[in-house]
Symmetry: C2
């Protein structure tokens, strides 16, 4: 069968818009065919679109032979358009069905399919990602992306209502913001350039003119490791606020996170049910412990960590047991945080950095930034970076750059927390890791 | 003078929140110092933040000597915090001022500055971009970014309310969407990869599962030419719609553009005044002419173009004179459009592509896409591209990819139209062109 053009046909209803109150009305529906059945006197199939599904029922006594032949020839997952009449039907899902008068197969699917989109046959993640289009018709991935979309909207609306300006900073950059080890190099005409690993330097500068900025955009890290929490391209929600300290931006993050959990719980009950995932709205205040307190708790639990050690999954998992699901760790050792983080005035080994942890994952990290050029140069050197390479950035600190603070929140890790997805690849439409670049 | 930390000080009001009704109340304001004056018995300066400006007035009779000394020591564009009392003042802008009780210079600006942020001294674009932080404190650039932010919000809200799902597609990609000539290569571990020049292929695939998608994200093109309309990194607003033709997505674009002009006219009167730019809300229907009609008009006007010629600035400028400010050109020659554009069924030399022009600029382009694998392979070969490199993409066409259409709208070019900016660099916070990569 050959693909057809749409011609004059146009969708009149989404599947979810059809209910039994519309019985007797004409409709044109379009979507993908799942579950074709022939019960002798009656043939039917389920038509799926992004809104949901609707049953198309062809009783042999009521429809023409051409319709029955057309149904026989349809392969599963083909794109079809159906003209017909809406009818009450007690046995159909939602008590409603469409009796077809004309069917047009717009794009027939080849058989066999590499994946069962109904989700009844389990498939491993590689198989799913290799046939991502079919995978994204499955109920669980659809639920994940509906929730991710919802979370992104809450982030944007929340920050906009707090007076933040949304900005777009460059993704082609000249310098590393942390260390060069995880950068992707680009051939930029005759110059050396990199993919941006964070909007850090740009958003800091923008506090000196736009006051409060946020960005929702891609960041890039050449992650060598194949973990379920890392990818080479993810979306980061970043804020930076003029005339603020870490305490102020922790408050903003606390309000935002609670707001996201509230809104997702309220608006995405159906998707959470599909995912068989329960979430609990965190209570305010979200616990805040210092690095020193966290270290003490871990050592009391027998973990034997030296002061200055970074925490990874085992430590974070242990802290979850002790402190709870969601908490901040503040005042990290300066040495394990980036050059732009402000050290304590009275003890430069401690810094005004913080992380937000959810279960065993680091969801966000941020802090008070250095706004003094001299101190920033010193910290660059301490980290083995060359201040000369940062001259364009450093100049801004001579032009009245205000004290400022901010954070970055991993949108995919947040989506994992909200959906129960066990691998970050499930939360990205077309994930990028070391082995997976196609398409 | 050394930069200071914020300590316990926090902003209580933005400058615009202060009006004469608040006279007698205490306030803490923070921002940048412009226009310091000493009139003998009185010293004053203007404090600017992103919301606007407020006058800080220190009459010698009322404030302490330390305050007067502090004001003497402040350099223009320093970041300062002022505690004081709000007072009515007929001579001050907006009839209100702040009488300081304490001033803290949070980050003193070095002198001389490379740029006069009041905008009184003209500066060329290169100088402005070299000191972008100072430039972005000037009224006109601030107005441009307020309008750009407004336009982006209208785009997102409009499409969301129409049932579109916002998506993020990969920026690290394996294949070109048009030709390879303008791609930036990336070292992606041991593989060859590129920066995405358009979300085209991904958004097409997503119509097969998410129905109606949009993306607002960066696109990258290695533009060799130094024109006022081109940059190497810009933001593209892209949509793609399942079960639709170019006529449907032209309607969506028409509604959106009119909505943007309406909302910007309504909400950004002040910014348009600052920019001395008038915009007119386009009337519906926006004129639609075919390529053949456009060619005839141009040749009638003496331009002597062969059928199949592409239009550039001179032709677009002439058409503007003949057709008007905003119009669509539809049904372009297949040969000058990308491989994924659907040719006419009855005349394959013509295609279902369209452009939206505003004055002499191409604002958007789109069309009905090919949804038949066989035809797509043929068109790839016609364009000199190797279908084998697109196998991952082509597979999707065997899995019921629906007929679909869409467009991409250049957010910076739109911002030029809305603000009267004469160079696209003025509409990007940190523009990227062949010579300008720093920072």
């Amino acid at each position: 069968m050959k693909p057809k053009n749409l011609g004059k046909w146009r969708r009149t209803h989404l599947s979810q818009e059809i209910d039994s109150d519309l019985a007797g009305e004409k409709t044109t529906i379009m979507g993908w065919v799942t579950d074709i059945r022939d019960l002798g006197g009656i043939k039917f199939f389920i038509l799926q679109d992004f809104s949901g599904t609707i049953q198309v029922t062809a009783p042999k006594a009521k429809v023409g032979k051409d319709i029955l032949n057309e149904i026989d020839s349809i392969s599963k997952e083909s794109a079809v358009a159906v003209k017909g009449e809406i009818a009450k039907a007690d046995q159909a899902p939602r008590g409603v069905e469409v009796v077809p008068s004309e069917i047009r197969v717009l794009n027939p699917a080849e058989t066999p399919l590499p994946l069962d989109p109904t989700g009844r046959v389990k498939a491993d993640l590689d198989t799913r990602l290799d046939a991502r289009l079919l995978d994204l018709r499955r109920p669980k991935p659809q639920a994940i992306f509906k929730i991710k979309h919802g979370a992104v909207q809450v982030i944007r609306n929340h920050l906009t209502s707090e007076g933040f300006v949304e900005v777009y900073t460059p993704k082609i950059v000249r310098s590393a913001t942390e260390t060069g080890a995880t950068l992707f190099p680009i051939s930029y005409f005759e110059k050396e350039a990199f993919l941006s690993q964070s909007p850090q330097l740009y958003k800091e500068v923008l506090t000196g003119c736009l006051d409060k900025v946020f960005e929702l955009g891609p960041i890039f890290r050449a992650e060598e490791h194949d973990t379920r929490y890392h990818l080479n391209e993810v979306i980061s929600a970043d804020i930076e606020v003029a005339f603020s300290t870490k305490e102020d931006v922790i408050d903003i993050l606390e309000d935002l996170i609670v707001n996201i959990f509230e809104e997702i719980t309220e608006d995405h009950e159906e998707e959470l049910e599909t995912l068989e995932h329960e979430i609990e709205v965190p209570e305010k205040p979200v616990p805040r412990i210092t690095y020193d307190e966290a270290l003490e708790k871990l050592n009391d639990a027998g973990m034997k960590l030296e002061w200055g050690a970074d925490f990874s999954i085992p430590e974070q998992r242990k802290l979850r047991e002790i402190v709870g699901g969601l908490f901040f760790i503040t005042d990290w050792p300066t040495e394990i945080k980036p050059f732009y983080i402000m050290p304590h005035e009275d003890d430069s080994k401690l810094s005004h950095a913080f992380d937000l942890l959810y279960n065993e994952i680091e969801l966000a990290s941020g802090g008070t930034r250095i706004h003094q050029r001299g101190l920033l140069e010193k910290q660059l050197k301490n980290k083995g970076l060359n201040p000369k390479r940062f001259e364009y950035h450093l100049k801004n600190f001579e032009w009245g750059l205000p004290p400022h603070s901010g954070w970055g929140l991993g949108v995919e890790r947040l989506t994992m927390a909200l959906t129960g997805a066990e691998n970050i690849r499930e939360t990205v439409l077309f994930p990028r890791d070391r082995k997976r670049l196609t398409p």
